[in-house]
């Protein structure tokens, strides 16, 4: 009996020992950057894509510089409370000099103060709530423009360019969609249009036929669905066709997903409109190399949530590099370097620099229409004049 006791206690003792001693044997100081996102759970499709793009960015950076920066992933499951703990795990790790994320606006508002207190810069590639950058924050940045930019441009497009006056707005109860829908609704009314209805669906809904029936009967001419999940948009479009309705579908950048929105709808989204803040990344010649490597290493499909995260990761990495080159690698220095970011050409095909609140400068939106199996740029109203003419692309 004595030996049995020992055999059970010994491993446990070793375990505890390893937990205590492991940090003492830690290798030479490494530079880490963190990434926060919903890598599991209902929003995992968004989170995993962002993670993959961030991994690619780190690999590219390491190869270009010969450094060996580590990417630490911290899963938030899109729950702000888990995001808080996950953020603390990054903040408490002194080797972490910058963070990508969190993905959702509600997560950002739950953790922003913690990052500010730790002087740790965090850059989101998908949090678009305008309120996040409104009040003198110093550590939060984003590579995507806010809902306050995209919502009104979508509304103006629908009213002025498409000439539609009766709109039905649906959000998917994500903070992304609600903010966007609110902004668009306000602008649409201001422009003189009429909002026939405004309703919410949920991100795990798998059927919209009853909603489509309702909207079809309501007299609306178009549905504006700024959802986060492109396959939900595709399903709405499918059910519009299925019920023989002629509603026009307009989505926001969450819908810009070839696999889910175009291929997945089996032609139902043909002619649908989608907005996007950058020229379609697939058409940016300078980014083709990165796109190809992503397709080769991770997935042949990507959405508008991915490349902005690549851009955000590179912003962090380059800030770390500049801080290290100036001989002062600290969180404060990295934060200041992030604020001073001035990329002439990012993966998104546009320059990246931040204003004093952390918002990306010079953001403008473009409208795309689904033609065949690609998103094709639509010439649009005066508010949305593109600065550079991005080429429409053929993507399979």
């Amino acid at each position: 009996m004595k030996s049995r006791k020992l055999m059970l206690i010994l491993p446990l003792f070793l375990l505890v020992l390893s937990l205590v001693i492991a940090p003492a044997f830690a290798q030479s100081p490494v530079i880490k950057i963190g990434i926060l996102g919903p890598f599991t759970g209902p929003a995992a499709s968004v989170g995993q894509e962002q993670l993959n793009w961030a991994k690619l960015a780190v690999a590219d950076f390491n190869e270009a510089t010969g450094w060996s920066v580590e990417l630490v992933e911290a899963d938030t499951q899109l729950d702000p409370a888990i995001a808080v703990t996950a953020s603390e795990s990054l903040i408490a790790d002194a080797d972490v000099y910058g963070v990508v994320g969190p993905a959702g606006s509600q997560e950002v508002s739950a953790v922003a103060q913690m990052f500010a207190d730790a002087s740790l810069a965090h850059i989101s590639g998908s949090a678009t709530d305008p309120a996040l950058t409104a009040e003198g924050n110093t550590t939060f940045f984003r590579t995507v423009p806010t809902d306050a930019v995209q919502g009104p441009s979508d509304a103006n497009f629908i009213y002025n360019v498409l000439g539609l006056t009766k709109l039905f707005v649906i959000d998917d109860q994500s903070s992304y969609a609600v903010g966007l829908a609110d902004q668009a609704e306000e602008a649409f009314i201001a422009a003189g249009g009429e909002i026939i209805g405004r309703e919410s669906v949920q991100q795990d809904d798998g059927d919209f036929s009853s909603l489509v029936t309702l909207i079809d009967a309501s007299g609306a001419e178009a549905i504006f669905f700024p959802g986060q999940i492109a396959s939900q948009g595709a399903l709405i479009a499918r059910q519009i066709v299925e019920q023989g309705s002629d509603l026009i579908f307009v989505g926001a950048d969450g819908m810009q997903n070839v696999d889910d929105f175009i291929t997945g709808s089996a032609g139902a989204t043909e002619g649908a409109y989608v907005s996007s803040f950058a020229p379609d990344v697939r058409g940016v010649a300078t980014s083709a190399d990165i796109m190809n490597r992503y397709i080769e290493q991770y997935d042949d499909n990507f959405t508008s949530f991915g490349p902005p995260t690549y851009a955000a990761t590179l912003v962090v990495l380059e800030a770390v590099q500049r801080a290290a080159d100036s001989g002062n690698l600290s969180r404060e220095a990295v934060r200041d370097e992030v604020a001073a970011t001035n990329q002439e050409l990012s993966v998104l095909g546009i320059p990246i620099a931040f204003d004093e609140n952390g918002d990306v400068l010079g953001a403008s939106f473009y409208m795309f229409q689904v033609v065949g199996d690609a998103f094709v740029l639509v010439p649009s109203g005066p508010e949305m004049m593109p600065e550079a003419t991005p080429e429409a692309t053929e993507e399979g």
Partner: protein, 480 residues
Amino acid sequence: MSKDKIGKDEWVASYQQRSAGIVGWRGALAGISERLPTWAWFALVIAIGVAIPMLTSNTYIIRVAGNIALMATLAMGLNLVVGYAGLLDLGFVAFYGVGGYVYAYLSSDFSGVHLPTGLTLIIVIGIGLLFGLLLGLPSLRLVGDYLAIVTLGFGQIFVQLMTSMTRVNLPGHERPVNLTGGPNGIVNLDPFSILGFTANTVTDYYYVLLAVMVIILIVGFHLNNSRIGRAWRSLREDELAADAMGMPTRQLKLLAFALGAAIAGLSGALFAAWQGSVFPGNFDIALLINVYAIIVLGGLGSLPGVIVGSVLMIAIPEILRNVELAGQLFYLLIIVTLIATLRPRWQSVALLVSVIVFGLILKPILVALSPASFAALEATSSGFVDTIRNWLAIPIEAKAVGNLAFGALILMILLVTRIKDMRVRFIALIPTLYLLSFVWETRLSQEPSITRLLFVGVLLIVLMIYRPNGLLGERRVEVV
């Protein structure tokens, strides 16, 4: 401790006598725990709790400890309802949410109200009691799973309303009013501040949460040993009999609901103050699952069990965030499991050696068969990992092969547990262990976030199978 035995039946008493006869270290531990007076246990918990921030300045560890204290407090509320009174309440987390939102309404610019924290907490507890009574009323008519579904519905409705009520037309307002902040929640809440003490740092909040947990622990302990506690137990064991004995079953049920809800409301308010914001997503079913897992893993109706359960359910997923640590734990766990389950003892050593030899033979064969599929591996930062990766035959298409291996591994594990013949099982274990290591290196270690949750799932199944009554639960005979 004999005076605590009231309310337990003879079988339980005889079981406890038998368990006192367990020899070895477990018996010794059981003996110590029997002899230690209750206040000493409380003192021990408090001492450990107070010591944590003094031993480390790592805010992450302190925050996780704070989460444990918070979840333990919440779970004690649920334990009152489920563990003591035996009412399957699946809407419990909504009370936590009510507490959080009430705190948010009373201490933020969202509503423009800034009450002192002390007053807010009293209101929160009052509202919690009230909501508990409201939800308790249907429980008088419904039993078992019908109660479960109605309460589940209540929980869902709460989250749904908090998400949706952003544009409500109220009389006297021209435009729709935002009542709840929707998915963007209510932010910038006032910090917890009571009697001149304002919590600012993680450590401050940790002490507040710890203090509240201890208070609730003491309350729970006394409730359990009071007339009410015994009455609840009789209700849980046999409602009809309790009714026949003249117990006021209606009032007892309502009381359980109300007290549980009040505790949940209080924890919700503390949570809101700590996070500084509330969102509907804070109060969804994922949390409910967690709290249930805590009380069942710890042992239904057991107070120390709640703390043990919280430590398990909160700390393990956090430990698994660290990839390297998770890897070490993984291999250690395999070895410990082998040593603990294989008899005679030399078998585990023989098995490990066989697996190593198996790998050493397999790799050259595979490489010889298809040299193009294998390439030199890149070195990682850990020598231990490198050794294992070099021992395994990891192909270039590691991801695809790893996925297939994962499926094969599940089948192998299911098979191995079915094999009765010792020798066959020994032989089957060799490739299984090899696959286990292979899958870890090719897939699991690459996807730490997914692996975490896979682990939690396996942990729940295994723990339940080996300890169906929870880790510290009393073994009870189910009356059929």
